[in-house]
Chain length 406, copies 2
Amino acid sequence: MSNDVHVLVDGSVTCPRGFRAGAVFAGIKPAGDGKLDLGMLASDQPAAVAAMFTTNTVAAAPVVLDRQRVARGGPVSAIVFNSGNANACTGEAGVRDAERMAALAAARLGVPAEQVLVASTGVIGVPLPMDLIEAGLARLDLSPQSGHAAARAIMTTDTRPKEIAVQVDLEGTLVTLGGMAKGAGMIHPNMATMLAFLTTDAAVEPDMLRSCLRDAVRDSFNLVSIDGDTSTNDSVFLLANGLAGNAPLRRGGPGAERFEAGVRAVCTELAREIARDGEGATHLIEAVVSGARSDDDARRAARAVVASSLVKAMVYGLDPNWGRLACAVGYSGAEVDPSRLTIAIGEVTVARNGVAAPFDREAARDQLRPAEVRLSIDLGLGEGRAVAWGCDLTEGYVIENSAYTS
Amino acid sequence: MSNDVHVLVDGSVTCPRGFRAGAVFAGIKPAGDGKLDLGMLASDQPAAVAAMFTTNTVAAAPVVLDRQRVARGGPVSAIVFNSGNANACTGEAGVRDAERMAALAAARLGVPAEQVLVASTGVIGVPLPMDLIEAGLARLDLSPQSGHAAARAIMTTDTRPKEIAVQVDLEGTLVTLGGMAKGAGMIHPNMATMLAFLTTDAAVEPDMLRSCLRDAVRDSFNLVSIDGDTSTNDSVFLLANGLAGNAPLRRGGPGAERFEAGVRAVCTELAREIARDGEGATHLIEAVVSGARSDDDARRAARAVVASSLVKAMVYGLDPNWGRLACAVGYSGAEVDPSRLTIAIGEVTVARNGVAAPFDREAARDQLRPAEVRLSIDLGLGEGRAVAWGCDLTEGYVIENSAYTS
């Protein structure tokens, strides 16, 4: 991370001033030790909001509702969320349930219902158990200490929570950013299938907030692939409540770049954690594409590499079968000249000018053993560069997704 | 199949008049019982040719060579082929090797080298062992009885050969079509990763031959997905030597529709066999999309369903988790109105108007038990229809592709 971004120890979404969270086990998921499945994230002061949602045309009810509320420009006082049920493919009744869930949360906080957003994740096609949600919300308490509990309450097949908080110094004013996310399966660019919540106490102009989130998502969550499926529920939220007291940030203005670096750092870390915790994964794969004709081309090529089942299986099998990398960039849509490809597995260059380089097979295998594996492809055509993240494909993924109704 | 298309018992590419084939074990693949890895398919009379190749920009050397030769319009006297080595990512030396392989085959047949096409499949990035190929071709004999041997010589991780022959009656003249294909892995629309060879003794005008192959491939091989990877070597060839003596077929002319039905039948059967024999597969999945705004939209939606890892894992796990089907058509790019979706698993309707229909879970599970599983999605928007084929995702796929350098 850049020197301007300071990572806090044990960070969470409630690190920025004026944010509180809470979570309970409402019984939406099957019971289990320490499980949480219903939560809320609230700002003491109505916050400016930027958000991005799934590109799937079969969008879940909360996405339908949130899109309208965000389009109106906010402000947002809270996000109420649950895991275990996606409230997707639930028709008009599902939208009414999402509205009611927001209204119940708003009543607890004493804010207008339109200031509450909703996020759901879990099984598709089953009505939300509103009785459990109502009872759960009645028991839910908010505190600045409960950020970690909130991060656990959005988990489905995730094996661990994904959280971070950072601080950036805006010429004298210290602002804090927090983030949490869930991933694990149905994860593919165009918004990794996931929920991500970002908070900040910075004051930020609406335009700046939106462009900043869009750019950070493009280079982080949209460059993660677990299994190629783009879910019905993907949502990323960024709330900015202004309690740090800085002069509102605007594009190109003082402090803008530092704040952008902070948002980018939070998104990148959460994206990496989502890839690392992919269903059944034993390796985080980082695909670094350089020498592309453009950054867009580099993103296409890097995404194709981490999305390839054959590349994923090769990493799992510790097999330095670089032809699969050449094949993936070849169908990625990026401009590729086969005779200019240079490919490295970790530190070992395995192909140069599109043909095999002499390399020690065992040394290349050793580069695939660590928990984090780097695959580098230089297209040899320009200055475009991108990094994408994925995970290996293991028997564990198959077992998890053939036995779990998610 | 249509009543006009008669399937021959024990059919192969040498069923049409004037085609001979041969295959040997040259030692390109590791040795094994009855393994073959080098072969040739020849026409006694130079044949008209249509062909389609991979869209991957990292195209293998034989594809580079064949594209030029097919673009010149043929005619073609033979295709020489090998398995065990893809001759891909082998640079200019690879193209010279492909040319030499064609020249060696041409010399054996006594035809001009430009009349020979080449196909290779196997590991990427390793130079072709030309000494083995030269020695193998010297031992290779051609006969009309060796079609089955040729089909085995193109196999890589395929567990069985894929072959068919059909006859159609063109107003008194009986013409025969034969076909063989290999698939197994690196299989995804835009030419399933595969080789397919079609032969016919019909006389066909060049325009008709090309359009006929293009339409049949669109509705067969391009609607198969095993793992989402589009290979460097995909090639489909159709040779027509005219020895049946019919008046040359032209588009819209007499007999054209019957011949087209024959080509379509051969391609569809081979495509289904490729899906059924996907690496590690235990189920053939047939996704039937109807009610789409257009046939193109239906093809997009059907492809997305068979390509979805989550759908594939759900079939393997006998889990009637229809939300994954709704999710897949939602991100397919087809026009979808969630409130109009009707979804059936086999004979059991599981969703109607986009929401869960009351259904018996065990009955739906039972629909997933047979070796062939049908998933039907009616988009409720128009008359567009398509069928796509895939296979389930099993631990076997992961094991095969993490341990096998292919």
